[in-house]
């Protein structure tokens, strides 16, 4: 959006549409209102004033801090959770490869013992990445397996243990209780574990992402977020409201289906992509 000509109503409407269609939700309403007010007040006059204004407004919400995942403690235990199909298992492959590349000895725990072929899916990744995986047959108790995996990670000199869990909707009380139990049990096996509880959010999800972040946080004290599938046309704007209301660190973005398709989250780059 460039040009020195005066802003007209249809351009302002277009900007409002851009904000909404990026899934900003309530933030779209307030930022669009700010834009119209600024235009009326004369502080935003032309086409080329718009994007810097929006970036500044959204930047105030997103902040400028990068809050990367810091590996401390051994074994560092990373518990991965999220709703069905959000990209947990694939994201674990990406995280594992990334961490192995940084020199850490990584182990995987296939604690989705519910879904058909979930263990097989993670096993394919473990084999491709040449790393140990702790698993059991489908139907096994996930917390029992989590406990054993943590004990093995400690005994086998592992630096990072990544625990995969079954997809679950935050509306399913019993499944959220199961996740809470997995978290507690990890702490019993290794004091301080899990050191990171990473919630995987599907970047194509709309306003429900906010409810997911709230409910998962309440159930298992989420310490970090990863947003997947932003290699499509979805912009992941729900992150703005999540940032506003929960202040959870965003660690990574998922940008594809291979183990290399991961990027550290960086607020300015994220906002830039919103306007693509």
């Amino acid at each position: 959006l460039v040009g020195r000509s005066m802003l007209d109503a249809s351009t302002l409407d277009e900007m409002e549409e851009l904000l909404y269609t990026a899934d900003l939700g309530p933030a779209a309403a307030s930022v669009a209102a700010d834009l119209r007010a600024a235009n009326k007040a004369g502080t935003v006059k032309t086409g080329e004033d718009v994007e810097p204004f929006l970036r500044e407004k959204l930047g105030e919400i997103m902040g400028t801090q990068v809050e990367p995942l810091r590996i401390a403690g051994k074994p560092f235990v990373l518990l991965v959770c999220g709703v069905n199909g959000s990209g947990k298992t694939t994201s674990i492959a990406k995280l594992a490869k990334h961490l192995k590349g940084e020199g850490h000895k990584v182990m995987l725990a296939a604690c989705d013992t519910f879904r058909a072929a979930a263990v097989e899916q993670l096993t394919v990744w473990a084999d491709r990445l040449d790393m140990p995986i702790v698993k059991r047959e489908t139907g096994a108790d996930p917390s029992g397996l989590a406990f054993d995996a943590a004990a093995r990670a400690r005994d086998e000199d592992i630096d990072v243990l990544i625990v995969d869990t079954a997809g679950r909707l935050h509306t399913q009380k019993n499944l959220m209780a199961e996740l809470e139990k997995i978290r507690r049990v990890l702490g019993k096996a290794i004091p301080g574990a899990p050191h990171e509880v990473l919630l995987i959010l599907d970047g194509t999800t709309g306003q429900n992402a906010i409810a997911q972040a709230k409910e998962f946080s309440a159930a298992v004290d989420v310490t970090g977020l990863m947003v997947t599938k932003l290699d499509g046309t979805a912009r992941g704007g729900a992150l703005v409201t999540i940032r506003q209301e929960l202040k959870l660190p965003v660690r990574f973005l998922g940008l594809g289906e291979s183990a290399d398709d991961i990027e550290r989250f960086e607020p300015a780059a994220f906002l830039e992509a919103l306007f693509q």
Partner: protein, 293 residues
């Protein structure tokens, strides 16, 4: 809820419940806000609000005492009319040859699980003899996943190692003819609508077996992107119906309205859970109540 919000708009004025032109506009703004909160696409929300306005003007509700209530009812009825599936059967069963069903959609929408659910429903409720086809050859253990589901439900799963999806589809139809299976359900890999290679692959599968019914499997929590992806899918292959999944969550499901409005494809089934029995015929009024909050 929207009714409460509209009631507030209407009650804040003189004339005990009569709607003026200006608070009709406030009422319409509330409706638009409710649609956007429910993940309905920005432009679809605009179109729907205009429709409601026309219907409200046509119904001359401004003169009535219960205008606020009437506005909600008009809105509700417009949405139900939009979402109502036509009276015909969701699946056009072929005569004298296997019926071919194609499942398509974005990554993680629920295609594989829904393929199994549909197979169970068609066997149990429609007395069909389904054959599932594992045509996702790229996701790790995708074939395994469908094969395990097939075992659970005692429905055969067709797969041949090393064959491309379009070839698998043709071979499966031949297998169905040979073994007396009358309905072929083809599970495909999740794909991005902007992935030209994968969209072309889907086109090749369609050309190879000419599906009788193609379903877009859509996650009920999808946001504004639902329109972009649905539009792109419908450019590659005709979409006969939509299956909305994960309705057992608390997402409002506005994406379904957007997809229907933009592609014309009716929602035929709803996924209400992870088990194979968790598939129901779609009820427009249930979804509309959910969208209206």
């Amino acid at each position: 809820s929207l009714s409460q919000r509209l009631r507030k708009v209407v009650s804040g004025l003189a004339g005990r419940g009569k709607l003026s032109e200006s608070n009709m506009q406030d009422g319409l703004a509330e409706i638009r806000a409710a649609l956007l909160e429910a993940d309905v696409h920005f432009r679809v929300a605009k179109d729907l609000v205009e429709r409601v306005e026309q219907a409200a003007i046509g119904a001359k509700i401004l003169e009535s005492v219960s205008a606020g209530e009437q506005l909600v009812k008009i809105f509700h009825d417009e949405l139900v009319a939009l979402m109502q599936a036509p009276d015909d059967e969701p699946i056009a069963f072929a005569k004298g040859r296997p019926t071919v069903l194609l499942m398509a959609g974005l990554q993680g929408a629920g295609k594989t699980t829904t393929s199994a659910k549909l197979a169970v429903h068609l066997r149990n409720d429609k007395k069909r003899k389904p054959l599932l086809v594992a045509a996702d050859i790229q996701r790790p253990a995708a074939v395994d996943q469908l094969q395990q589901l097939g075992k659970q439900i005692d429905i055969p799963v067709f797969h041949v190692a090393g064959e491309a999806p379009e070839r698998l589809a043709s071979l499966a139809v031949a297998e169905a003819k040979r073994t007396g299976r009358d309905t072929v359900i083809i599970d495909t890999a999740g794909r991005l609508h902007i992935d030209e290679g994968l969209m072309a692959e889907l086109g090749r599968v369609k050309s190879a077996v000419n599906p009788d019914t193609t379903f877009l499997v859509c996650d009920a929590m999808t946001g504004q992107d639902a329109v972009r992806s649905a539009q792109a899918f419908v450019e590659t292959l005709p979409l006969d119906g939509v299956i909305l999944t994960k309705l057992d969550g608390d997402s409002r499901g506005g994406a379904a309205l957007s997809v229907r409005h933009v592609t014309g494809a009716p929602v035929r089934y709803a996924g209400w859970g992870e088990k194979v029995e968790d598939l129901q015929p779609f009820h427009a009024d249930r979804l509309v109540s959910r969208v209206l909050g």
